[in-house]
């Protein structure tokens, strides 16, 4: 459990550093982002929100306060989830915009990443078990080539060939026009249909990474004595592959989860942009293009938190799979 406590401390620390980087970035850059924000608001809008300039000053700097005062205000606002008002979605507060867009992204990346993990480690395990077999010679190079493709190129190809030419998938937005989000069958099935192609693209882009990691570690694991021992005991081939070699081989790829998930969250920006999918990634790109720094900054915080939470979940899984961590 001490290991887990150390991880928790690290995540809290990482979160604090992420928040601080986010605070310092607009202040270190030349130019003053606050002018960019304010020029999107009319005098009437400014007059209607008396505290708004102060909020923006705390978020991106440019006011007369000392940097420490700004920092304290900034942290307390973040704790209260008050990220100011979005200029591009005026008069919606930033937290509301994020609340509307983030669920789509979590759904997309959550499902796709879980599937890519299952498929990738499964193929990697099997390919290493039967070196030079059909899976190793066909599926491994295919997924390797797919993962080497730029994700946005794969997305464009999928959009053009599978969506536009073949007509198998809807190509734009998260649900049919005319529907409104809600917990009803019509909306959910439409949302599911629209998520299929983006999920396929993420699968194509990320399965290869898991697969290659798993295959590499598995090849080394197969040479271990306990695997030979398991064979000698007369255990079935499948049981040795999954429960003896596979269970041990899966730990190092799991530790590479942080970097892979962080990059998948990044890839989401491109995929949502191409499919006009109204998630956090597309919103981030439009916020940056439209100088809506309050929204952009808050999204970066939220996406970092998502990656940290996902890492935490992975650590719990690691704890379940690796008994050494429980005693150490």
């Amino acid at each position: 459990m001490r290991w887990f406590a150390r991880r928790l401390v690290f995540y809290v620390f990482a979160l604090w550093v992420a928040l601080t980087i986010n605070f310092l970035l607009p202040r270190m850059m030349p130019g003053s982002p606050i002018d960019g924000i304010l020029q999107h608001l009319t005098p009437a809008q400014l007059a209607a929100n008396p505290g708004i300039v102060k909020t923006y000053e705390a978020l991106v700097g440019g006011g007369n306060n000392s940097i420490w005062q700004d920092y304290i205000t900034y942290l307390s606002r973040i704790v209260h989830l008050d990220f100011g008002v979005s200029t591009s979605h005026y008069p919606a507060p930033v937290s509301q915009v994020i609340g509307q867009t983030l669920p789509y992204s979590i759904f997309l990346v959550g499902v796709a990443f879980f599937l890519s993990f299952l498929i990738g480690t499964g193929i990697g395990m099997f390919a290493a078990w039967r070196r030079g077999g059909a899976v190793d010679n066909i599926l491994v190079p295919t997924f390797m080539a797919l993962s080497a493709f730029p994700a946005f190129f794969t997305a464009l190809l999928g959009l053009y060939f599978l969506g536009l030419k073949a007509g198998w998938f809807p190509i734009q937005h998260a649900y049919d026009n005319g529907l409104s989000p809600g917990f009803n069958w019509e909306f959910l099935s439409s949302a599911f249909r629209h998520a299929q192609l983006p999920i396929l693209v993420i699968l194509a882009a990320y399965t290869g990474g898991w697969m290659l990691n798993m295959r590499t570690v598995m090849i080394n694991t197969i040479g271990e004595d306990y695997v030979t021992m398991a064979h000698a005991k007369g255990l079935s081939d499948r049981r040795v592959m999954t429960w003896y070699a596979g269970r041990n081989a899966i730990l190092p790829p799991l530790n590479g989860f942080a970097a892979l998930f962080a990059s998948a969250v990044g890839g989401l920006v491109f995929i949502e942009y191409i499919f006009s999918y109204p998630g956090a990634g597309l919103t981030l790109q439009q916020a940056v293009l439209g100088n809506d720094y309050a929204l952009a900054q808050a999204l970066l915080v939220v996406l970092s938190v998502c990656v940290i939470v996902a890492n935490l979940l992975m650590d719990v899984l690691n704890l379940i799979l690796d008994p050494r961590l429980r005693t150490g």
Partner: protein
């Protein structure tokens, strides 16, 4: 030279003849011969080499001004006049792709060089000094691994007003250095405790001599792998930022051609060529770099080799022999 030196082993002596002959005949440097000996890295090297050659001769093979306007020639599918078709402004996409290779490659190369040297310097320093410095570097690396790099880059490129080449290189390197720093640090740590480093230290060699004479030569294949990895990530990320419209879209590069294709929603109008050719050029280069990386990885971890040759390749023998000589010779 100790008795363990493999060159003295009569069984291995024969296998060392061939590489010497190759090197004498064509004057191929050792590292290049090594890369050419592996199928994957040979193919990768050829693909990357082709792109570099195209980038160098681009001004002579491009048929038109990459940003030329011609409404008469707009939206043409690929033909003999316009190999890769034209954009909706009538610019020739073939010219855009070959000229664009220059900016894309230069940016990726320098960003990778800066990021890899940062990673190597920090990783080796942390491993050598240990203690507080090591802890700080380690935490820093781990933090950079949990902040999603592309959203960070998107936000940063929103803040920087100037999207020139130098700014983009620095920004990319700043975000991408952590990818390989962890591996380089781990490798430096494990090398540091080897006998030959202890021996060097015991014989009173300076820290600089230990770093550049003992550590770096043994880490060089991993540093090369790190460079190739960051190179292709930088290529992808840079093209991605341009594609999102967050870079200087008045320049010519693969990402910018993709950006205009997306902005003018040419895909939805059934035009495949404006996105296909720059995207394929990028994918081709990245695939070449990935193969090169796979080849380098196979030297460092022989178990990954896919070929089932009865004997180890002669050139690999040379490499293995050299490393062994180095370690045994010192201890």
């Amino acid at each position: 030279m100790s008795q363990l030196d493999p060159t003295l082993d009569p069984a291995l002596d024969l296998s060392l003849e061939a590489p010497r002959r190759i090197r004498r005949g064509f004057h191929v440097p050792g590292w290049l011969a090594l890369l050419l000996s592996n199928t994957k890295s040979r193919l990768g090297l050829a693909m990357v080499g082709l792109v570099v050659v195209v980038a160098v001769i681009a001004p002579w093979i491009s048929v038109a001004d990459p940003n030329g306007f011609s409404l008469l020639a707009a939206r043409q599918a690929p033909s003999w006049n316009h190999l890769f078709g034209t954009t909706d402004q009538g610019s020739d996409i073939f010219s855009q792709v070959v000229i664009g290779a220059r900016r894309s490659l230069l940016l990726g190369f320098f960003a990778a060089a800066l990021a890899t040297s940062t990673a190597a310097v920090l990783g080796i320093t942390a491993a050598l000094l240990g203690g507080l410095v090591d802890d700080v570097v380690n935490v820093l690396i781990n933090i950079f691994l949990v902040i999603p790099p592309i959203p960070l880059l998107v936000v940063m490129s929103g803040y920087v007003q100037d999207h020139g080449m130098t700014t983009m290189i620095v920004v990319l390197a700043l975000v991408l250095w952590a990818f390989e720093a962890r591996i380089l640090r781990a490798q430096a740590l494990s090398l540091k405790s080897r006998d030959f480093v202890d021996a060097a230290r015991a014989s009173g060699e300076s820290t600089a001599r230990i770093v550049f004479g003992e550590l770096v030569p043994n880490m060089i294949s991993r540093i090369a792998a790190a460079f190739v990895l960051v190179f292709y990530i930088a290529l992808l990320v840079d093209a991605g930022l341009e594609f999102l419209g967050l870079a200087d879209v008045s320049k010519t590069s693969w990402g910018v051609t993709l950006y205009w294709a997306q902005t003018n929603s040419t895909v939805l109008q059934g035009e495949w060529w404006p996105f296909f050719f720059p995207g394929a050029a990028l994918a081709f280069t990245v695939l070449g770099l990935v193969l090169l990386l796979a080849g380098i990885d196979e030297f460092t971890n022989p178990r990954l080799r896919s070929e089932h040759k009865p004997h180890r390749s002669r050139l690999r023998m040379l490499f293995g022999g050299r490393l062994a000589t180095r370690e045994e010779g010192v201890s």
